[in-house]
Symmetry: C2
Subunit: 128 residues, 2 copies
């Protein structure tokens, strides 16, 4: 049995707005777009390494995303967390405080929210 | 700007039950376990390739997971979708019908639900 973890598919309310957020601010480009029966979706991934994120918009989705308590957060590994955090905040999106260097691991993290309120942990690794 | 997609972190109600589901039935092993302040979490990934899945249990989480309409599905690439589907169903978990070969792509897919009701798309690729 050989299994690998594929993409996670999140519902979004405005696909083009989400694409701009993830491409222009977070820095992960769209690799593929699929128009399905009643929905449109894209897959985003780095050119090399990391996982894949799929975003889907169902045409019958009209209200805001109801988050419940299912997804805690999505991580993105970035090379300059201060820069990405600044871009996201400058574009008018919410953040949970400034980036913070952790004591227990050689990383700096920051929390921001995407256009639908998905919680994102930006993570920059430092030399140990 | 160089960004990669990291893991997705899902809240679960019973961490050990979820670990058994993903390790024994889906086929992705735990790579790391972290005990935090008020929560415990694990990261699962294949030995090579694919993304990472993080599962977290918060000690103050008592009721079932409220899914809302945020996460549509999580994909797993498997080498034998019939076998994985059979294992999941035999273990008493829910499935949406039998595996089906798609017409538009050279894949067979099946939908199953994890112990908390997360919707999983199992996907086996065939030679084109």
């Amino acid at each position: 049995m050989s299994t690998t973890v594929g993409q996670f598919c999140l519902n979004v309310t405005d696909l083009e707005r989400s694409i701009r957020f993830y491409e222009d601010l977070i820095g992960v480009p769209v690799r593929r777009r699929v128009t399905g029966d009643g929905f449109e979706e894209v897959i985003l991934a780095a050119g090399e390494g990391g996982g894949r994120l799929q975003l889907a918009h169902h045409h019958d989705q009209t209200g805001p995303i109801e988050h419940g308590n299912a997804l805690w957060k999505i991580y993105f590994d970035v090379d300059d967390v201060d820069d990405v955090h600044r871009r996201v905040v400058a574009a008018g999106y919410e953040a949970e405080g400034p980036p913070q260097r952790l004591e227990q691991w050689p990383v700096t993290i920051a929390f921001v929210f995407d256009p639908d309120g998905y919680r994102i942990e930006l993570l920059q690794r430092h030399e140990a």
